[in-house]
Symmetry: C2
Subunit: 245 residues, 2 copies
């Protein structure tokens, strides 16, 4: 048995999320499994580092799968790209130990959320960044981001919809970069709850526009109340940026 | 009679080009004319600074139209944006003299062509930039660009398909910026022949990858032979960036 770890980029607009569903739903997992079958004749399960929702993009998603036959890692990469559509591309491929797991062995994950700060929507950014028509106090957003760093119970910043053993997660870093008319928000942590990044960014935006005060973060953490934090930002501004093992 | 000049951004992927065609083709001109009708009750013709082909984007296209009624320029802008789809947005609007013409009065136009220089296609850039998998000598491309500056007969760098009185045009400037994995090529001139920007970029790319030599430009100009210049780059990397009057 040969185990391969791949790094993948995809355009989330082209798929109904990561996870394989029924025949009629085009998913990233399904597209990769079909391409691997075409390339190798083997029916495999592709295990992602985690699911992404419909519309969410990936610059550096990772996944592993097993093959009976022994292929060169670079050749299998090229063969998958040959058979898969251009909406998903394998950027790198390597052989890993048989006990490596793309999901359980994750040490850190980084998400990017793109916001563009113009009064009107920009047709060329729609689908790739979320419009924020309000003036934002970026320094205040950075201050709020600082309060999220560390180990916290993020129950107040998750959507219902998946069962987890614990809602405690550690955020290592939040970087907010101003790039032209856009804000790039990078969030790095040891793991994320359902919609957690989109709610973190929604909370930072509400603080940045003055709708919420800085104190809301401590209050949300201490009470665990979801309604204290900001809204879920839309999927199409979110990118799974990097997975580290 | 009140004449309005508007500046427009649109996502070329959403339209069958600029020019209104039959009922079933969605075009930028048609979308704007329909939105202006919804906003004002007046059926107008929107005169663009020029047509753009299917797939070509615009960051700063301009156009004029006339209304019987006297509307505030900013209010008409907001009303068009209210009725038009999010694939086209009016960024600014002003009243102009009745003898102003969005096409005939153009002094300079700038196009942007985006290339991304990775071995494989990138799903998140496809449709917005053209992939170039070859290593490029950017300094040589800049040298070649220098040879295009000035007044020349660009017959050798146009596609057949539209009748023009003269094929002489003046290029004022070509800027090639390296931005991450991308090249942004800005071309400014007093006017452009059919596919001229896409052929200019195709020629610069072929010179940059060593397929053509620098001498090809003088030879193409002196003989007028289209086959000496490079290929027509694809539409989806092209943006009408700015129109100056």
């Amino acid at each position: 048995m040969n185990r391969y770890l791949i790094e993948i980029e995809y355009n989330g607009a082209a798929f109904n999320g990561w996870q394989r569903q029924d025949k009629d739903s085009r998913t990233v997992e399904g597209e990769l499994e079909d391409a691997i079958f075409s390339a190798t004749g083997e029916r495999v399960t592709v295990h992602g580092s985690g699911r992404t929702d419909s519309g969410v993009h990936a610059i550096g998603q990772t996944a592993h799968f097993d093959l009976e036959k022994d292929f060169d890692a670079e050749k299998i990469r090229l063969a998958i790209n040959y058979y898969a559509s251009g909406d998903v591309v394998v950027k790198s491929s390597e052989k890993v130990d048989g006990d490596f797991h793309a999901r359980y062995d994750v040490k850190r994950k980084t998400y990017l959320y793109r916001l563009y700060l113009t009064r009107e929507r920009r047709p060329l950014l729609e689908g790739y960044a979320a419009n924020c028509p309000y003036p934002l106090d970026v320094e205040k957003m950075r201050e709020a981001a600082g309060k999220l760093i560390g180990e916290h119970d993020f129950k107040c910043m998750m959507s219902v919809g998946s069962s987890v053993k614990t809602t405690v997660r550690t955020i290592y870093n939040i970087d907010i970069e101003e790039i032209g008319e856009e804000l790039y928000v990078y969030v790095t942590g040891n793991g994320f709850l359902y919609n957690m990044v989109r709610i973190i960014v929604g909370t930072l935006v509400d603080i940045g526009r003055g709708k919420l005060g800085l104190g809301v973060i401590d209050e949300a953490f201490s009470t665990g109340k979801r309604e204290l934090a900001g809204p879920v930002m839309k999927a199409s501004g979110l990118y799974l940026y990097k997975v580290e093992y």
